[in-house]
């Protein structure tokens, strides 16, 4: 029934990312079940790369000067203010969908962060923070003598 010719019908490699995406979407949908409060702003994605966590958040139109990032222990706090809009007087809004843009969010990470080595980058409206794990928090290899 599942002979190899069937698999070749549509290349599995093409379908796999889609399936993973679907799974991720499902997890995201149900992760909010039971939570009363709406999702926090900004929405974040957390990646794992070379033992460090990389947090990305879409924050269009922020003032990089007024962005505040602080780390203490395993808590990452981000806050910021949007750039003021330079609109001339004497006009009217036809549509206003964008938020005011000020934000504040605290995130608890599953490990202690090496606060000295944290790197933050704000590019094209996307904030990216690299959070390396603290040395003393790294798993220790124990040699058997």
């Amino acid at each position: 029934m599942f002979n190899p010719t069937l698999w070749r019908f549509r290349r599995f490699a093409d379908v796999m990312p889609e399936m993973l995406n679907l799974q991720r979407e499902m997890n995201r949908l149900f992760s909010a079940v039971g939570q009363k409060a709406p999702q926090d702003y900004p929405a974040v994605n957390i990646w794992e790369k070379d033992g460090a966590a990389v947090m990305t958040a879409e924050l269009p139109g922020m003032d990089p000067e007024k962005m505040d990032i602080s780390v203490s222990g395993d808590i990452l706090a981000i806050s910021g203010t949007a750039e003021s809009q330079a609109f001339s007087e004497g006009g009217t809004y036809l549509r206003q969908e964008r938020g005011i843009g000020n934000f504040k969010r605290n995130l608890t990470l599953p490990f202690q962060v090496d606060a000295q080595a944290v790197e933050a980058k704000y590019e094209k409206g996307v904030l990216r923070i690299t959070l390396p794990r603290a040395k003393e928090d790294l798993p220790k290899k124990i040699k058997i003598s």
Partner: protein, 130 residues
């Protein structure tokens, strides 16, 4: 705030796109004064090279390509938002002076200034005393 306001809205269109990525509807502010129409769109992840603005007759199309939304070599552990391109189409009512359209992208925000054509600008009619 309502949850709807925080999540990006996915574009649901009948036509399929060549790039196999999701597209989202950027949130916009549209503002008008007597000389021009201003459009401000939130498009995080795009810059001046990856944004495309097209005005055909009175149909304004904004598209933005997001290429570096992923962390290269990283594995996604926790996700609250999705990464994708942007697309939105507007029908403009006023005649726009095509030659004078100004577009800028800064920190993922697209700003468009669409000056109104001379013939449609409101004219003040001076009343002379009889």
């Amino acid at each position: 705030m309502v949850e709807k306001d925080l999540q990006k809205t996915e574009n649901v269109s009948a036509t399929e796109r060549v790039r196999n990525v999701k597209t989202f509807v950027p949130r916009v502010d549209i503002y008008e004064n007597k000389d021009a129409l201003f459009l401000v769109a939130d498009m995080p992840g795009v810059d001046e090279k990856t944004v495309d603005i097209e005005l055909e007759k009175n149909i304004l199309t904004i598209t933005g390509r997001v290429e570096n939304g992923r962390v290269a070599g990283g594995a996604l552990m926790y996700s609250e938002y999705e990464i994708g391109d942007y697309e939105r189409v507007f029908t403009l009512s006023d005649e726009i002076d095509r030659g004078k359209i100004v577009a800028t992208v800064r920190n993922g925000v697209l700003r468009l200034e669409l000056p109104k054509a001379e013939q449609v600008k409101p004219k003040k009619i001076a009343i002379t005393a009889a």
